[in-house]
């Protein structure tokens, strides 16, 4: 199928991009959309499930691609591709959970084009990276002609395919705190029906292990609600416990608390709630054992 017509601008700088969003949106009243790798947007355009009037292509803004060390955090440029993230030594060293989850996103060709920031801005509850950003307390840096702001991941994912971004705002970078201290293990447990299929449920998990007990646990769930869900009850239960399979199984029992899992072709709400518990236990075990 074939996209509907749209106007196209390809700014060279962030300022130009922000201006383009403002011009088209605020001033001309057009439905404007930023496109980075386009791996989420292109199928929507082809199926005519999205009809933007203006596309602002971020592809040539080199400054948006940078991944850098910022002391206690890594800053990932919004249009760093999944492929770039996977191969980036800073990510590999300080944010292995992101690397793990990114390796499960789609397939190699899609990862060559698709971007870290794009996956977050798209706010698909079945996407793998929003839960990871949530688990790691990432902060999203946003710019518009009106200025800059920082949005914590916990406030960024608002609803089904809806982020806190205003139409004129551009996600420019994501600041992800390094996991502080020794003893961290991470895991992303993705459960899908075929290799290509979206996660029925996913669990992003980081566990800090000190003297055989859980010192710190970060757990967030993919596709357990209209937005990624922080499994706070699991975290609270796990923290301080001596590491054992039984302890994690018991922790997993809290995974469905506060979730609102969808029902679709690939799983009912009830099944998703069950899966979340099993997979959370497994993710904790894998992370702590690592």
């Amino acid at each position: 199928m074939i996209p509907a017509t749209f106007d196209y601008v390809r700014p060279a700088t962030i300022d130009e991009a922000v201006a383009a969003l403002a011009d088209a949106g605020e001033d001309a009243g057009q439905d404007v959309k930023a496109i980075a790798g386009g791996q989420s947007l292109m199928p929507l355009l082809r199926l005519r499930l999205a009809y933007p009037e203006v596309l602002v292509d971020l592809d040539r803004i080199e400054a948006l691609r940078e991944i850098r060390d910022d002391g206690d955090a890594i800053v990932i440029g919004a249009t760093a591709t999944h492929h770039q993230v996977l191969h980036d030594p800073l990510v590999g060293e300080h944010l292995p959970l992101i690397a793990r989850a990114t390796a499960t996103v789609a397939d190699p060709a899609v990862r060559h084009r698709g971007t870290f920031g794009g996956s977050l801005a798209h706010a698909d509850p079945a996407g793998d990276l929003p839960a990871v950003a949530l688990a790691l307390d990432a902060v999203l840096h946003v710019r518009s002609a009106r200025g800059e702001r920082e949005i914590p991941a916990a406030e960024f994912f608002v609803d089904w395919m809806t982020s806190a971004l205003e139409p004129d705002e551009l996600l420019v970078a994501v600041r992800v705190p390094k996991l502080a201290g020794p003893g961290w293990g991470v895991h992303y447990e993705k459960f899908h029906r075929t290799a290509q299929a979206w996660a029925v449920v996913g669990v992003a998990c980081a566990v800090r292990r000190v003297n055989g007990a859980v010192e710190d646990a970060r757990v967030a769930l993919t596709n357990m609600g209209p937005a990624p869900v922080r499994a706070s009850a699991v975290e609270r239960f796990a923290e301080g416990r001596t590491i054992s399979r039984d302890a994690f199984r018991a922790a997993g029992e809290h995974a469905a608390a506060g979730t609102d899992p969808p029902a679709d072709l690939h799983g009912s709400s009830q099944y998703r709630a069950h899966l979340a518990k099993v997979l959370t236990a497994r993710a904790l075990t894998a992370a702590a054992g690592g």
Partner: protein, 798 residues
């Protein structure tokens, strides 16, 4: 014989690995216009108005037509298989005129200068619909008072077809063991990788129609019948065709409409479907509800089998829609002996995409039923599933064997294939591991699935097809032309779309004619070149078309023998023909090659009286019986009892397809067949919601397995030659698909039997497996498309 039996690398590959292909969508004659179809968003509705004004005014739009605009000329799409005299057979206009009966049915079309302009204009066509009730559930559709798909027919039943043999009542009366089961063969989407595409080029009152079709010959005849354009003014070409699996064994409305549009506009018109269009509007497969009853002795010997089917036709009867379940009618008894059998099939209309042939066509459904039942019987009696089969199968010494379904199996050796499969599979070792995991209460349980199958293929003897009221015969044609230079053209009526005919046919001809493989060119898929044929489906190409070629070669050699005798001044009986050369017996130096004879026949300077110039021949072959490939398939499945996920750990397939022309191609066919059969067991289902909307319109939701989703297969063969043809071949195209589905489900159920599970409906999704294990769980909620994430629910890609 040096070529036949050799794993010759395929000649087709050269163009396919370099992209120098001729897919229909690649063809773009000057002046080509592009067609786009507007399709019904409703499962069932009356069309109360179509306004094409705005669409026609768009730039680049040449024509916009509704069904009403074409009503006078579009005719009705054919059904060539009137299975009973009183079969209800509704009219099927290529484009809906006043009522739509499935979501995706074409209601209007745009013809424009390019595909973008055509697609854009669809949005400006205004169609008014008055919705009618959808009919989505077959069991409800046949109840009194159910809403009707075709009001004028007065019923949703298309036909009821019955076969009975033996005294079934006696078989069930006082039977020590009886089983009753209900199995559902879910709807499948064939999903050939190449979407459908049609290009029709007019030349005055004559038309060349290129189509991604399996059946250029049948299509030509049917296009003539539907449109009243004389058959000799239509040429159909199937250029490179990217897979079919039955989905391109069809006469599609879009093919008829492209022909009519080319005639109306006097310009080439082309249509290429999108995947989501294809999922909705290319025919589906399977869709049966099977009610089964089996009676057996206490030792497991089967007394009788009763089969009662509801077969989903979808909204209309297409080319062979009603006949598909009947292809299974003869296969429910499988490889087993029994005294009584009854089969009843009710064809049911629903407001869904029409069904028709999909790889195996009726036979996978039948094989699934009997092979699942055999496992249930084994469980009931506490027997090993192999043992219960052994007690019932037709012994090697009993062939030819007339089955209770009235077929005569000419040959087979189930013992040999099974023995080989058990050895390759390490059956005993896996059973030991299974016992250990059960003992340990391992959350991952192991199951072993058995499927021992046969199928009727080589469709088909014309007389049998006639007795089943099929509209045509089942013969095939081949021609051989020796060119003056000694090169050879082979023409086949079988129309390849991935099978490798260009290679296998050349191997057969090279051997029979004694010429180099490279000197043979195989021509097919163009009615102007291959003037008659019955095309490719039902694992018939080699077993019918290959044999026709074998016979055509022998005719050429026969004529060459006459000429050689004349040239060598010897009696024909004194000539021997080896390695492409005739020589006088005992006098090796006096001889003539077949190439020399071809030149002499071309020059015609010195031909015996009554012998016509040129060295060529035609042959048709009409088999006297079907052929009966068989095989033993074993599957080991690991089932995660916590999540319901199934992982196939090993899969052994030992098939007996008779003599083999090209073992490479045979192995490839088995691999691909297994993939599709496994996909039915685990992944694929065309899902409709209660309003009759197909919710699996994209590949994000209709889960065709990728490489990580399938195991590596272990394949082997036994070889029991078919007796019905001189090549000894049986056919292989559908074997893997037929055998593998029950093997996988049997493995899953075997893993879960200690938990009280005796069935998991297909596809055995993780949730369904989990539900089977936790039967107290709440009933499955109906899916709410749009509620979840992911593209399938109108979200975005990753």
């Amino acid at each position: 014989m040096t070529e036949v039996g050799t794993p010759r690398r395929r000649s087709e590959d050269a163009r396919l690995v370099t992209g120098r292909t001729r897919w229909t969508d690649n063809l773009q004659p000057a002046g080509t216009l592009h067609v786009a179809f507007l399709r019904s968003p409703h499962a069932h509705a009356r069309i109360t108005g179509v306004d094409t004004t705005a669409a026609r005014e768009r730039p680049g739009v040449v024509a916009v037509l509704s069904g009403a605009d074409l009503a006078a000329e579009q005719g009705s799409l054919p059904c060539a298989w009137v299975v009973t005299e009183d079969m209800k057979h509704p009219a099927h206009p290529p484009m809906a005129v006043d009522e739509v009966r499935y979501a995706g049915e074409p209601v209007a079309c745009v013809v424009a200068r390019d595909r973008y302009a055509a697609f854009d204009a669809l949005e400006d066509i205004d169609v008014d619909y008055a919705p009618l009730p959808a009919v989505v559930d077959m069991e409800r559709a046949v109840q009194d008072g159910a809403p009707l798909v075709h009001e004028d027919l007065g019923t949703n039943r298309s036909y009821r077809w019955v076969f009975e043999n033996g005294d079934l009542d006696a078989a069930f009366r006082d039977a020590p063991v009886t089983l009753e089961r209900r199995y559902v063969q879910q709807r499948l989407i064939p999903a050939a990788m190449e979407p459908r595409a049609v290009l029709c080029e007019p030349d005055g009152e004559e038309f060349t129609l290129y189509s991604a079709t399996q059946i250029p010959h049948i299509l030509r005849l049917m296009l003539a019948t539907v449109t009243q354009i004389p058959e000799h003014r239509i040429r159909v070409v199937a250029p490179d065709v990217g897979g079919g699996f039955g989905s391109k064994l069809q006469v599609y409305g879009e093919e008829v409409l492209c022909l009519l549009l080319a005639r109306r506009l006097g310009r080439p018109v082309k249509w290429t479907e999108s995947r989501s269009e294809g999922n909705m509007a290319a025919h589906h497969g399977r869709d049966q509800i099977q009610r089964l009853a089996l009676a057996a002795e206490a030792d497991g010997r089967i007394r009788g089998l009763k089969v009662d089917l509801l077969a989903g036709m979808g909204a209309y009867l297409m080319l062979v829609t009603p006949g598909i379940p009947l292809l299974g009618a003869f296969m429910f008894p499988g490889i087993y002996k029994m005294g009584a059998y009854s089969f009843t099939c009710t064809g049911v209309f629903t407001t869904k995409t029409p069904t028709d042939a999909y790889r195996g066509a009726g036979r996978p459904e039948a094989t699934y039923a009997i092979e699942r039942l055999m496992d249930e019987l084994a469980a009931e009696l506490g027997l090993d599933p192999i043992e219960v089969r052994r007690r019932n199968w037709i012994g090697h010494g009993e062939f030819p064997y007339e089955t209770v379904a009235g077929l005569t199996y000419d040959s087979g050796n189930y013992e040999a294939a099974t023995e080989r499969a058990l050895a390759l599979f390490e059956y005993d070792k896996l059973r030991a591991e299974q016992a250990d995991r059960r003992e340990r209460r391992d959350p991952v349980q192991l199951g072993i699935g058995v499927s021992i199958f046969t199928e009727m293929c080589g469709l088909a003897p014309s007389r049998v097809l006639g007795s089943l009221s099929y509209g045509a015969g089942g013969w095939e044609h081949a021609a051989v032309r020796m060119l003056p230079s000694g090169k050879v053209e082979v023409i086949t009526g079988s129309s390849a779309h991935g099978q490798g005919h260009e290679t296998a046919w050349a191997q057969i001809a090279a051997d029979r004619l004694g010429v180099p493989f490279e000197d043979v060119k195989v021509l097919h898929g163009d009615t102007a070149v291959s003037h008659k044929g019955m095309d490719t489906y039902g694992s018939r190409s080699l077993a019918v078309g290959g044999v026709a070629l074998f016979n055509a070669c022998d005719k050429v050699v026969g004529k060459a023998r006459v000429l050689a005798a004349h040239l060598l001044e010897a009696a024909e009986d004194d000539l021997e023909f080896t390695g492409g050369r005739f020589s006088v017996r005992g006098v090796r130096e006096a001889g003539a090659t077949i190439q020399e004879i071809a030149l002499a026949a071309f020059a015609a300077h010195d031909l015996p009286d009554g012998v016509e110039p040129s060295l060529d021949s035609d042959a048709t072959f009409d088999p006297g019986n079907f052929s009966f490939p068989h095989g033993t398939h074993l599957c080991a499945a690991e089932v995660d009892t916590e999540t319901g996920r199934v992982r196939l750990r090993s899969y052994v397939a030992v098939d007996d397809v008779g003599k083999v022309v090209n073992p490479l191609i045979v192995e490839g066919q088995v691999h691909g067949g297994l993939a599709q059969g496994i996909a039915q067991a685990l992944y694929e289902e065309a899902v409709y919601d209660e309003e009759g909307n197909l919710t699996t319109t994209t590949m994000a939701d209709y889960l065709v397995p990728a490489a990580p989703d399938l195991p590596s297969f272990t394949t082997d063969r036994t070889e029991t030659p078919a007796t019905g043809n001189p090549l000894g071949v049986k056919g292989v195209g559908e074997a893997g698909t037929i055998a593998s589905t029950p093997a996988v489900v049997n493995a899953i159920v075997d893993a879960l039997r200690p938990f009280g599970v005796s069935d998991v409906p297909m596809p055995c999704t993780p949730e369904r497996v989990w539900r089977a294990l936790n039967q107290r769980a709440e009933p499955e909620e109906s899916a709410e498309p749009g509620a979840g994430g992911g593209l399938g629910s109108a979200g975005g890609a990753r």
